[in-house]
Symmetry: C2
Subunit: 203 residues, 2 copies
């Protein structure tokens, strides 16, 4: 088995789906959490100067979706043929679009601009995505695609806390089928064990 290391700040955010996937598949990994003080010295050693980073047998790669897809292949959650892989990738990219639309507003530095954009986000964007995804979850028997567990479910469960943090809401309150997707992931014994031992962080 390869030696896996995850480098990220001590936050869930973009690193948590990767940590969830490694845990889900029971692949041991070093969960390395970098402090803000350590980061400047480490930054030049990371691809594109970014984290999260996955190190596989000493080789460092970045890009959270690419890393998650790779781990998903190792643990049998990436689909069984190119058409299944395509369908999983499409739903994951849809969740990522949703994240980006939220992040653009949450990280808007100008308060007046932010307030204006927040109205569209809250009244249009968020209900649009969650309603669509909830229907998809219902049609797929409590999963996000293919009617079976895939890394799309684990990715969604892993990124949800961050989306709730960015929107200062509990996004799934009125979306029980989506909540079911998350619950199924969180019921995985290995994910449960990871969550019990992970550091408590706000983000």
């Amino acid at each position: 088995m390869p030696d896996y290391k995850v480098y990220y700040f001590n936050v869930k955010a973009l690193g948590e789906p990767l940590r969830f996937l490694l845990s889900y598949g029971n692949l041991p990994f070093d969960d390395i959490r970098i402090t803000r003080e350590e980061w400047p010295a480490l930054k030049p050693t990371m691809p594109m100067g970014q984290m999260p980073v996955l190190e596989v047998d000493g080789k460092r790669v970045h890009q959270s979706l690419a890393m998650c897809r790779y781990v998903a292949k190792q643990i049998g959650l990436a689909g069984s043929d190119p058409v299944e892989e395509l369908q999983i990738d499409a739903i994951v990219d849809t969740i990522n679009d949703f994240r980006l639309k939220i992040a653009i507003v949450a990280y808007e530095p100008d308060d007046m601009v932010k307030e204006k954009k927040m109205i569209t986000l809250t009244n249009e964007v968020i209900p649009f995505y969650l309603t669509k995804l909830n229907v998809i979850a219902k049609e797929n028997n409590g999963h996000l695609v293919l009617g079976k567990p895939t890394w799309a479910d684990v990715y969604f469960a892993g990124i949800l806390d961050y989306l709730n943090y960015l929107t200062k809401t509990d996004l799934l309150t009125n979306f029980p089928q989506l909540q079911e997707v998350v619950t199924k992931v969180l019921e995985n014994e290995n994910v449960k064990a990871y969550i019990e031992k992970r550091p408590v962080t706000e983000v």
Copy 2:
């Protein structure tokens, strides 16, 4: 061979990498270009109400990177094992990050905000990405990853016109190794044939 249809507006933009890949691999496809007048009636029939869409034997999927990755697998440009696939995905996602950073500024509706963001984009973001990518292209013998042709090269060549349009520049002027990546793709006979017959569009 599956029956492929590409649905998109009559623009290059996010559809062109997909059209390039299908062409590169000599996979025949219906290049369906929807007018603004036709779109409202068609929108509800498209996944998430978005285009570009790829129809494979009557089944419609969306998400431009997911579709490109799928086509790349059909034409042998997607890497030969999961580690190669990971490395390709990471560079493609980096190009996509670059596109998103440009698009956020280009589509900013507030002129004063746009002007401010344009300074950072022009002086920091664009040189950062292009310098990094140019070094990568040099190290990879005129390719973006693995020292051989992959769908990352074709994706980059396909999206470049759109990036130039959004930034109102010729991005690669001072980046000859990146220009070489693009040139190699454009020299592919099938891509050349597609470009000769495609409609002339500004975007």
